[in-house]
Amino acid sequence: MAAHVTPPSTYYKIFATLVALTIVTVIVAFFDLGRLNTVVALGIAVFKASLVLLYFMHLRHSERLTALVIGASFFWLAILMVHTLMDYVSRQWIPVPGK
């Protein structure tokens, strides 16, 4: 078997971090940081997701192809988002008719 065996202690550490981050993100949400709220919430979410990917899903010890596959999925998600939002963001740019 090529699979790497992660010791349970790592899993527990990751679990503890995830729990802590969940608590942090809930607490932060109750403070008004303006636009930063979303940034922080998503930042923490991305971090948590990366931990799950890297350790629970063993990405750290997987071959390069796996990372490539995951990278591709997020890259394409970004295409979907960015190109659609490009439309919504720029719809108002055309000057008001008649003015």
Binding site: I94, V96, G98, K99
Partner: protein, 342 residues
């Protein structure tokens, strides 16, 4: 236009038409060139290098020994060819891109002095309203030589206002306004189609554009049924009967003064801002809670379901006319954010 037996392009009846056709002819020529080039080379090579008995090739049983060096990883002349047929088409398409998008920008930006006509699409007819109040169905009368801007909306599904003789088409959407413009160059009667599939009688949602000499147009305006009211004056009536006046007409603190609002930026509750274009005015009436003007309570009731698309157009025409009458300067000088202070 003289009737021709066989035509390749529709009537050219707007300022845009020749510009679009030029691009079209260029592309036809380009396509012909490349199609003939490819087809010609294929035929020439196929004939010249057709299989001959002297070609030592694998037999039926396909015993293949000692391969020829396949062209993996081209170099030398092969690489030069690859680069050539990557770069040359690239340059050509970039050229087309700039040409066509300049045109697109022209088509998308109506000139400021265009006269306005309102169009409402519904399954399966076009309802047209002129600022002076004339209404028509499946017909659009316009004067020759003046830019015309269409402000369009739909009562149900998506339609598309298509005037092939002007080379203009724009989708007509429910819930918002879209615009299109043209300047007719030649009097006559031209077809009008619905180009976005919209159900049973999609193919019956057709009509005519009648382009007239300015005097004939004037005569037509006078003769056409208008109910005796311009759009704005009809809107004024609605403004009163829907009770908008109670909050908006006087300088009452209940609602913002609408005079001169059109086309100006508005600061919204929460720090954002918006431009008071037709779409914004529309949303303010149908969905007043979506964007609250800074400094005002969200007390305006929604008129969704109470005003029809056509009444909406009249109300908006009225709000816009308010700006024109009072010069709009008063409001713009003071700015929406100022309103908060008083």
């Amino acid at each position: 236009m003289p009737e021709r037996l066989f035509r390749f392009i529709p009537d050219q009846a707007s300022t845009l038409a020749p510009a679009v056709d030029n691009l079209y002819f260029f592309l036809v020529a380009l396509s012909a060139f490349f199609s003939i080039l490819i087809a010609g080379l294929l035929i020439y090579f196929a004939v010249k290098f057709r299989r001959r008995p002297e070609h030592a090739i694998a037999d039926e049983h396909g015993v293949v020994r000692g391969g020829q060096d396949p062209e993996h990883g081209a170099h030398g002349p092969a690489l030069a060819l690859e680069i050539a047929w990557t770069v040359i088409p690239l340059v050509i398409v970039l050229g087309i891109f700039f040409w066509s998008n300049r045109l697109f920008f022209l088509i998308s930006r109506p000139p400021a002095d265009a006269m306005e006509v309102f169009v409402v699409g519904k399954q399966w007819m076009w309802k047209v309203q002129h600022p002076e109040g004339q209404r028509e169905i499946n017909q659009l009368h316009v004067p020759v030589g003046r830019p015309v801007r269409l402000t369009m909306s739909s009562e149900d599904v998506i339609h598309s206002f298509f005037m092939p003789a002007f080379r203009v088409k724009m989708d007509v959407l429910p819930g918002r306004y879209t615009t299109a413009w043209f300047q007719a160059t030649r009097p006559g009667t031209y077809p009008l189609y619905c180009a976005e599939y919209c159900g049973t009688l999609h193919s019956g949602m057709i009509g005519q554009i009648v382009v007239m000499h300015p005097d004939a147009y004037q005569a037509w305006l006078e003769g056409a049924p208008s109910g005796g009211q311009t759009l704005a004056s009809a809107g004024e009536g609605l403004f009163k009967s829907f009770g908008c006046a109670a909050c908006h007409l006087t300088d009452s603190p209940r609602g913002p003064r609408l005079a001169g609002a059109y086309g100006k930026p508005v600061s919204l509750e929460g720090g954002a801002s918006a431009v008071a274009d037709e779409g914004y005015l529309r949303e303010s009436i149908l969905n007043p809670q979506a964007k609250i003007v800074a400094g005002y309570p969200p007390i305006m009731p929604t008129f969704q379901g109470q005003v029809t698309e056509e009444q909406l157009i009249q109300l908006i025409a009225y709000v816009k006319s308010l700006g024109a009458e009072e010069g709009g300067a008063a409001r713009s000088a003071q700015g929406a954010s100022e309103l908060r202070k008083d």
